[in-house]
Symmetry: C3
Subunit: 265 residues, 3 copies
């Protein structure tokens, strides 16, 4: 699968998928810039008055509940519904699921609307799967290790029909049958806000151009992880890592990606 990841990166750059993001207020700019650096085209829109039109024009949708409130949840729900009607693939990022009842309920209700993929950390996936209470995680950071959420991810994939990605020191992607492990990235990435959110938007972009959701999701994780590794070589801290990630993704070449991508399964 390491060889195919370059195909996904090339497809992003050639087809420049339009990715509609309904994301949180912290992650908006980072998500837009990551999509642009990957070759995709972002559009942010949340008004009920235009949701269906934007979803209809988009190649994929990313819904992120990081700074949810009732108005935005209505928009997310309308977008998910519109995506169901048009067959637009969409990704759910259940930020903070398990940390508050409101987030858990909202993430659960959105999951019922058939996302193509769900990406979260171990705490979030555990909570969303109902396997545990998610440890009442510290904010939106992971508490548990990703491997601890593997069974929950599989169960969630089966019950929801979504490909489920649990990200951590090693990332796991599963459709309930196959499991793919992606071992890329560096710990410093967790010290930059919204990279996980932006990654979810990249998953949406890759699904838009990919042949199957499981591979496309794994490819997005590998592209992000390899980009982080390259950026970290010259970074002196989280501030420089943040902008170096965009430069590295913009310049990422097929050889480097093939050589560095660690995708198994």
């Amino acid at each position: 699968m390491s060889a195919q990841v370059t195909g996904t990166l090339e497809a992003l750059r050639e087809r420049a998928p339009l990715v509609h993001c309904i994301t949180n207020l912290v992650a908006m700019e980072t998500s837009a810039n990551l999509l642009l650096a990957a070759g995709a085209s972002p559009v942010m829109a949340h008004a009920q008055e235009e949701i269906a039109e934007v979803v209809g024009a988009a190649d994929a949708l990313c819904i992120n509940i990081g700074t949810l409130d009732p108005g935005w949840v209505d928009s997310m729900t309308a977008a998910a519904e519109a995506a169901g009607e048009t067959g637009t693939p969409w990704v759910l990022d259940p930020v903070g699921c398990g940390a508050t009842a409101y987030r858990t309920e909202t993430a659960g209700a959105l999951t019922a609307r058939q996302p193509a993929a769900i990406r979260g950390n171990a705490s979030e996936i555990l909570a969303l799967a109902g396997a545990t209470d998610g440890g009442r995680g510290r904010g939106v950071d992971a508490g548990a290790d990703s491997v601890e959420a593997l069974d929950a991810a599989g169960a969630l994939a089966e019950s929801s029909g979504a490909v489920v990605a649990v990200t951590g020191s090693v990332d796991y992607v599963t459709d309930g049958r196959r499991i793919v492990a992606v071992a890329n990235g560096v710990p410093l990435m967790a010290r930059v806000t919204a990279l996980g959110c932006a990654l979810s938007a990249l998953v949406a972009a890759c699904i838009a151009v990919g042949e199957d959701r499981l591979s496309a999701t794994a490819h997005a994780l590998a592209i992000m992880g390899v980009t982080g590794e390259v950026a970290a070589q010259a970074a002196e801290g989280p501030g420089s890592l943040r902008w170096r990630l965009l430069d590295a993704l913009d310049r990422l070449d097929a050889d480097t990606l093939t050589q560095m991508a660690s995708i198994e399964g």
Copy 2:
């Protein structure tokens, strides 16, 4: 006109105009930082409870519909109305006009409230002028080339009374009679989100200190474009371009600006 552009930059730094921005959620930080780097002073405020007071204190206003919703449109409308009463010049950035009916309607309604200037890409200006349906542009990126929107820009300038700027590989500014062409900037700028939005805020700042709107708008485009060219000399991608733009604008000197600015008409 290339000589006069340095006068506008000096005026920005000496007079530090207060620019009230009602802008989109992606562009807020970038707009504030660009204004600060230019010597202006940003203020973001959208509550009906204070709109008139903030407009009254400001030297210029920038309204950007990038992440519009009914509450924000009400604020934009109130701000445009207040600006009309106080004679505060204001700039409209019709982000995504033509991409959805809601954006086209909102941009049209705001245009009727007499902005001093309108800045958009070719698709947006074409759609706003009603000359075409804007090609149902891909998100908020330009589809058409700027020169293709030149007639539409002229018609829009005449009908609205605004100076209209169409930005692209070459930027055009017109008041319906004169046309000024600004040939600065680099393609990499289009790979950084919200630079167009921040440019619209800079247009507002320049109009606040400039003698005539047409020149001030052209000067803003030239200052931004030259800044981008300088930043791009050392940038290794969109991530480094983004912060280098702020450094370059902060350090931009009169000689460099005069020498590099390409303003004709």
Copy 3:
């Protein structure tokens, strides 16, 4: 007190306090990244549906009125109330207090709910103390010098029970009895948006791990100021200062902090 400041930095890194921020739309990403670089853990949440739960889980709360509107003010009020019930210390950043009646009223009402600390520039503190009309400051920048607001800060501290920090070229912190002066930082920091807002979040983080509020607040100001001085050594403008601040804070060591911190009183 210069020696103790290293204890606060170490405590931030060891205990990683969870800091709940209800902050403005410009400052969200910068605040989150500054907290992460300091070793703290940010969470942004504003929905009434989860405010009490998030406050209950947090070690400290920061409320910033920079882009207030009635919905957000309701959230801020609910959060302050919840913090009062759980004994969670919280910091108020009265952005633009004095610039509009709405901001002055909102800041006043929040001050009545017993923040542990208040951080603002001279204009804001003067306005909040009712000592003057705050000069109807230019946007959210300081007009007056910090020392001019020292009496007002003392009066505000006494009347509110909060530790009050007035930041400027020299920062002053007072509980109405003691006054601590912190003389760190560089002027270029004022050319980067939202650093003051992010500093208020850092004050909240330090109070969460500190032994007394006065010292913790002074330590936060010194940590931020020293970080700015270190970052400015290599910065070439506001763009590079912004990311270098995060790198510098991440790498700040006890010796550098002890040597450079200028805390008196």
